[in-house]
């Protein structure tokens, strides 16, 4: 990394930390919730970007892996009495009933459990390519949801889990987001990350260069999915109540949206777009609630937000096929280039005016 970019990164980091302290002091619960959500979405989107953007394996199974992380985290942090309350139809299986642990170990175990499932699903699914891979991973994600709905004495089925301890705060969520960013950065810039990118660029050539395709695809898939597991565990603590229906395809779509908008294969693009999309998602709730303009009352249309985002996604794919950042990163040079271009534009316009 260039020195200027490093300094830029440090300034942004310090600025963000200062902002977190400020927000923690002065922001209301609603705004803090959105900020927590933004951090979680950064983790989720980076995970998906490792699989889809860097390794080029178009997977749509993120919501399923989030669900595994969320349930693992929730079951490990719920108190025995809360579990008893939750599981009133079928009691929870015995070893889990009296078991409770702290937030950090629960998140770590959530990541590991998700990794194991990602491996088991990845082995068959990653033999497929392109559309087939997308459909198969989506299918497995739905299967996870169906299984969670039916394992009454482990997950409480469709009733879901309530009263999950709300450990989460800005420092937990953004702490993990920072970890995820740094981890992704070092991973992508390592020899393994290069191998991922080579596979994305050209599988046949990558294999001819001695890269074991399957091993590296699995690696990217397991890493990205276990990040979904971490995100899921944090998400459960934020919601304090989860049920299988939260983890439908729409959730994967939301995260995919962040990745595609920001740029498949751009870390900084993902961070920015995950943050903006999260805020817009909340802000656009307005369009889903009833509105009164003068004497006219428009009833709220639920799902309108997703319509808007789908249109936005299509527009971006049409005009920026690689997302806003493509595979580039927001570096010092990138910013300078943009500024220079704006300046030139300004100059040209004034020139044209002078001519007239």
């Amino acid at each position: 990394m260039k020195k200027e970019t490093k300094i830029l990164a440090i300034i942004v980091t310090i600025g963000t930390i200062a902002f977190l302290f400020f927000a923690n002091q002065f922001f209301d619960g609603y705004k803090i919730r959105i900020m927590n959500l933004a951090a979680i979405n950064i983790i989720l989107a980076l995970g998906l970007n490792i699989i889809n953007g860097f390794a080029g394996q178009f997977s749509l199974g993120h919501a399923g892996f989030m669900a595994i992380g969320a349930y693992t985290g929730a079951l490990l942090t719920l108190s025995p009495s809360a579990k008893q309350m939750n599981f009133f139809i079928d009691p929870i299986i015995s070893p889990l009933a009296n078991f409770q642990m702290g937030f950090l170990p629960a998140i770590i175990i959530a990541a590991l459990v998700t990794a194991v499932f990602a491996f088991m699903i990845g082995v068959p699914v990653l033999r497929l390519k392109g559309d087939y891979l997308a459909i198969a991973s989506l299918g497995f994600s739905e299967i996870i949801r169906v299984v969670l709905t039916n394992l009454q004495s482990l997950t409480n089925g469709s009733l879901g889990l309530k009263a999950i301890p709300s450990y989460i705060n800005l420092f937990w969520s953004w702490g993990f987001a920072f970890l995820a960013i740094i981890f992704t950065f070092f991973l992508i810039n390592s020899s393994y990350g290069r191998a991922f990118k080579a596979i994305r660029e050209d599988e046949v050539a990558a294999e001819a260069m001695g890269i074991n395709l399957f091993k590296h695809k699995i690696m990217a898939f397991v890493i990205g999915s276990s990040m979904a597991g971490v995100g899921g565990a944090l998400f459960a603590s934020l919601l304090t109540a989860i049920d299988p229906n939260i983890f439908k395809f729409a959730l994967t779509f939301q995260i995919l949206l962040m990745v595609v908008l920001g740029g498949m294969g751009s870390i900084s693009g993902t961070i920015v777009s995950a943050t903006i999309v999260t805020i817009m998602m909340e802000w656009l709730r307005i369009v889903e609630s009833p509105m009164t303009i003068g004497s006219l009352t428009i009833p709220g249309i639920s799902g309108m937000r997703m319509v808007i985002f789908s249109v936005l996604l299509m527009a971006v794919i049409l005009f920026y096929p690689k997302g806003f950042m493509g595979t580039r990163e927001i570096t010092w040079d990138f910013i300078q280039e943009k500024i220079n271009r704006l300046r030139k534009k300004g100059k040209n316009e004034t020139l044209q005016k002078d001519e007239v």
Partner: protein, 263 residues
């Protein structure tokens, strides 16, 4: 003997793309593989590198069976394993990692020799940093050998056509091969560029202690530098021998004239 393509036959449905190809390469040789369009030359490469598994026959590298896999679970070797054993190739239609830098294109070839684990690499442990430094230095050396070191930061896709061809060769060299397979390296070049490339190939053979098998469409190009030549036509080996023998072989002349007449 370095490589023995032992009576290779491959069928795609009803089409026999290569029939009973028996090819032997000795260490240090520069051998040509020529033939008209669709003769099965690239398919032969794909069998040697494990991209395709032959329907019949096997591939031996220094007496070791390196025949490719018919399916992911079938016995046989994967292309990356074959590369690790010392067979590198270039592609007829250049296949660079176009969005990556010139340097990264070459460094990737060293990944197969990497000893550091994923965690070691992500945490940038001293062992990994040393390996990364070594890989970088070696890659720069190879780039110097092909005269692209000044362009190391450039995106591979931005290089001129001839430079891309050389980068592809550099990338193959970086895997540290014993046997280098070049699929029409002079394609799309004018006669002078082609001539320069042939000198370059001659030079890397010496410098990197290589055995080279080179596909060429145009018979004249290889005549000058290949010690031996195999000629394929419609999948069949119609001739083999020294350039002089090939030039005067009536079946070869017929095959090439046939192409010319129809072209």
């Amino acid at each position: 003997m370095l490589l023995h393509a032992d009576h290779l036959t491959i069928k795609f449905g009803g089409l026999t793309a290569v029939k009973d190809l028996d090819m032997q390469l000795n260490k240090g040789e520069l051998v040509g593989l020529i033939g008209p369009n669709g003769a099965g030359k690239t398919t032969a490469f794909n069998m040697i590198t494990g991209v395709y598994a032959p329907t019949q026959g096997k591939v031996l590298l220094e007496d070791k069976d390196i025949t490719g896999k018919k399916s992911p679970t079938a016995p046989g070797m994967r292309p990356d394993q074959i590369t690790a054993l010392g067979v590198a190739r270039t592609f007829q239609n250049i296949r660079l990692f176009t969005n990556l830098s010139v340097l990264d294109n070459v460094i990737i070839a060293h990944h197969l020799h990497l000893k550091s684990s994923l965690m070691g690499a992500v945490l940038r442990l001293p062992g990994y940093r040393r390996e990364e430094k070594e890989m970088r230095e070696k890659a720069i050396q190879v780039l110097k050998a092909v005269g692209l070191e000044k362009l190391y930061k450039e995106e591979a896709g931005n290089l001129a056509y001839g430079q891309q061809r050389r980068l592809e060769i550099a990338r193959a060299l970086a895997t540290n091969p014993k046997l280098l397979l070049l699929d029409e390296p002079a394609a799309g070049m004018n006669p002078q560029e082609g001539e320069e490339l042939m000198q370059f190939i001659e030079a890397i053979r010496k410098d990197f202690d290589l055995t080279i098998l080179m596909i060429e469409h145009d018979m004249k190009v290889v005549m000058g530098i290949c010690e031996r030549i195999y000629v394929l036509d419609h999948g069949e080996t119609i001739a083999q021998g020294t350039p002089n023998e090939i030039q005067t072989n009536s079946r070869v002349i017929e095959a090439y004239l046939g192409v010319d007449a129809s072209a």
